[in-house]
């Protein structure tokens, strides 16, 4: 996988307004695809999150500053479309994006292993944050036994989603990811 093995510049790329709009639109498109296709791509009741995968990829490419705003927009739209508590996905996605962007500054090279570790960490952070928000806002209990087998499966599915999304996003955002 050549596209997953590239150097990371320590400085995040400088994005113009057009670039930011393009990144926003790309992430919103991923949200729409997720909403429309989620029933078709679920496995044993667990749906891979294309949104987490795309956010992780963009955060690793663009750094936290640019992606947090996109994550907020995408999360709010996803909340509206999915009847979640408004702001819950946005909160969890922003936190995940920033943490992944933080990791970006600590590594020197993007490898498959880095993507795997990052997507697992992001899935864990996202799921735990959403569960806490649901518990606080709606009093919904967390079924730990379910989470124990759902999180590993989610990590695996999200990693596959990430591998599918990387070439698509690279093609869509051609030239915008490499500006620095």
């Amino acid at each position: 996988m050549n596209h997953t093995s590239s150097h990371i510049t320590a400085k995040a790329p400088t994005l113009t307004l057009n670039d930011r709009v393009a990144v926003h639109l790309a992430l919103l498109a991923v949200v729409l695809v997720q909403v429309v296709l989620r029933e078709f791509i679920s496995l044993w009741g667990v749906t891979p999150s294309l949104i987490i995968a795309a956010t992780v990829f963009l955060a690793l490419q663009l750094g936290p500053r640019a992606v947090v705003a996109c994550a907020l927009t995408a999360g709010l739209v996803f909340d509206l479309l999915s009847y979640h508590i408004l702001g819950s996905s946005a909160f969890a996605l922003c936190l995940t994006a920033w943490l992944v962007g933080f990791v970006r500054g600590l590594v020197f090279r993007q490898t498959l292993l880095l993507y795997l570790a990052t997507i697992c960490g992001a899935t864990l952070v996202y799921t735990i944050t959403i569960s806490i928000i649901n518990w606080l806002a709606r009093g919904e209990g967390v079924m730990v036994l379910h989470l124990l087998w759902q999180i590993p499966l989610s990590c695996a599915l999200n990693f596959i989603a990430l591998l599918v999304l990387i070439p698509i996003l690279k093609r869509v955002l051609k030239g915008r990811l490499s500006r620095g």
Partner: protein
């Protein structure tokens, strides 16, 4: 200072906005959410259309295969089931003083903590939060959020849904709630309650949220555990809970329309009519009903009398002319 890592300020702002929205939404203060959601309804419809395309393809594949009888085909089975549900719904409308509003399911989720359906009827059709949703004769949940054109239905088994129920065979009442490890249980039943497997469970109507007499499910296990305060009673809900495509929202009976005060023009016309009545009929005189009797058709003798001109008789002197 790692806290000054690039994007930390952005993160704080984003988290603040999200947390504010979470707080406002959990307090139920966002009315604009419905309007925003209605803007995104076409996307939901698109997802539903894609789902229908896949179902249709499945049906076609099933039909094209060599099946021993038409009854065994998936399409026929689903139509039969839908027909039965609608028939039950028709029967329901006679026993419950609510108006059932049929709705199609456009999205369903039985994931952890997200036990809900999305239907294609919303506030424009009369749906409102806390209205009862049934599937055939079974109670399946309540409307959690009502958008303009679609609504979210919280199903039995959702962590926040509690339903007061009763068991008519034994006469006991309890509260239906989800178990922590999955499934539904009837709580607050005494340990020596004479409850058997297979007993029907109906909504009791206590609390005023849901109507009384809707079938909630069947008792699947009833055991008295030593040392426990209450009976361990499990319930099996509607078999179509997560596989249905048609449900119905029970709309409450509309309140009687209060009489509107007459306008000035109407009042003037009314006074005018009253004045005309007073002119024609003196005050204090009771109005008599006027019945117009049709005259009987004249007989032949009468005809003859009428046709012959009356002979003039000379008036005798002293007889006054009438």
């Amino acid at each position: 200072m790692r806290f000054l890592y690039p994007g930390f300020f952005h993160l704080l702002v984003a988290l603040f906005i999200s947390a504010s929205l979470i707080t406002i939404d959990s307090l139920g203060l966002i009315e604009a959410r419905h309007a925003l959601h209605s803007l995104l309804t076409p996307i939901e419809r698109l997802a539903g259309a894609l789902r229908n395309i896949q179902k249709t393809q499945d049906h076609l594949a099933e039909l094209s295969a060599d099946s021993p009888s038409p009854q065994s085909s998936f399409a026929f089975g689903e139509l039969t089931r839908e027909n039965a549900l609608l028939r039950q719904l028709l029967g329901l409308s006679f026993s419950v003083p609510y108006t059932p509003l049929p709705a199609n399911v456009i999205e369903s989720s039985i994931q952890l903590g997200e036990n809900y359906l999305v239907i294609d009827k919303g506030a424009m059709d009369g749906c409102a939060p806390d209205q009862t949703v049934v599937c055939g004769k079974y109670f399946i949940g309540r409307i959690d959020e009502a958008g303009l054109n679609s609504s979210r239905v919280e199903l039995l088994g959702a962590n926040t849904l509690r339903v007061a129920v009763y068991l008519p065979r034994s006469g006991f009442q309890g509260v239906l709630r989800p178990r922590p490890n999955g499934g539904l249980e009837i709580y607050y039943l005494p340990p020596r309650a004479a409850i058997q497997e297979g007993d029907l469970v109906y909504t009791s109507g206590l609390g005023g949220k849901f109507p009384r007499g809707l079938l909630a499910g069947v008792v699947s296990r009833a055991e008295s555990i030593p040392g426990e305060l209450f009976l361990d009673c499990l319930l099996t809900p509607s078999p179509h809970l997560h596989a249905t495509t048609v449900v119905a929202v029970l709309l409450p009976p509309s309140p009687p329309i209060p009489p509107t005060p007459p306008t000035t023009e109407e009042r003037e016309i009314e006074e005018k009519v009253l004045r005309e009545d007073e002119y024609e009929q003196p005050v204090g005189e009771e109005r008599e009903e006027i019945t117009v009797e049709e005259p009987a058709p004249p007989t032949t003798e009468e005809d003859e009398i009428e046709t012959t001109p009356p002979t003039e008789q000379p008036m005798e002197p002293g007889e006054e002319e009438r």
